[in-house]
């Protein structure tokens, strides 16, 4: 199965330990919410492989849903990974999107690499009724259209 995904890299002006805490401390996860005004609701974190973290995301008037992830790996302060998704929102936890966060010391700063892996066949776009196929991947690769 061909995997799709993307990677985002950031240099964060803080040591790894602080960045790891920001990802896993329920008191600190507010940054994961959107910039829209949020209703204060408790953020829950069950910090173990197989454990879930959840927060309520407000996306519009009267429109909110629960999102977060289910942890796969926890390796402080270097790495964590989780299945990312929402209940009744986008994307669905059932789609199996896997987020991996890798933290590397860069002096007093941290290089954070975030990779999101999207399984082939996942209807990531509402219009993709048939999902992705190797043929399309080959087409894109042939014309160097894949990033």
């Amino acid at each position: 199965m061909t995997e799709r995904g993307f990677t985002l890299t950031r240099i964060l002006d803080a040591p790894r330990e602080l960045v790891y805490q920001a990802w896993t401390d329920p008191e600190q996860l507010q940054w994961f919410l959107s910039d829209l005004p949020q209703v204060p609701r408790p953020i829950n974190v069950d910090l173990r492989p197989g454990g879930a973290w959840t927060l309520n995301m407000v996306v519009g008037d009267d429109d909110e849903y629960t999102t977060g992830g289910v942890y796969l790996e926890l390796d402080p302060p270097a790495r964590l990974s989780f299945v990312w998704g929402a209940h009744g929102g986008w994307p669905s936890l059932d789609d199996g999107l896997v987020a991996t966060v890798t933290l590397v010391d860069r002096g007093p700063q941290t290089e954070m690499t975030f990779h999101l892996a999207v399984p082939a066949g996942v209807q990531t776009h509402p219009a993709m009724q048939q999902g992705w196929t190797d043929t399309i991947n080959r087409l894109l690769a042939r014309f160097a259209l894949q990033r």
Binding site: F6, R10, A14, W31, H125, I136, L145
Partner: protein
């Protein structure tokens, strides 16, 4: 939702059409050449080609009775844009993470 993207995906949703595009990625071909690997009728082949053409995935020359079809990669390039919402989502979150970390450091 991006209408062009929806049309592109609809065109790609059929395995016969995907196979035709794969053939055209190797070079232009006539309708007869494209029909060759399939057991379906020529009118059916024609319908598939119309869908691909409407979606902007192929262009067809009309200068001769045998009309060579050629792949057009413009729409294919846009397919990668399905990832854009995810990238934006996390890009925005990491801006907030950045600000949050500054606040945490100031408090220490």
């Amino acid at each position: 939702m991006n209408d062009a993207l929806t049309t592109t995906f609809a065109a790609l949703a059929d395995p016969t059409r995907r196979a035709m595009l794969a053939r055209l990625s190797e070079g232009e071909a006539t309708v007869t050449e494209l029909a060759e690997p399939f057991t379906i009728s020529l009118p059916a082949i024609s319908r598939h080609l119309k869908v691909l053409e409407s979606a902007g995935l192929i262009t067809r020359s009309r200068t001769a009775q045998w009309r060579p079809c050629r792949i057009d990669t413009t729409r294919l390039a846009e397919i990668d844009s399905w990832m854009a919402p995810y990238r934006e989502f996390f890009g925005e979150r990491f801006d907030r993470l950045d600000k949050h970390l500054q606040t945490m450091k100031e408090q220490q």
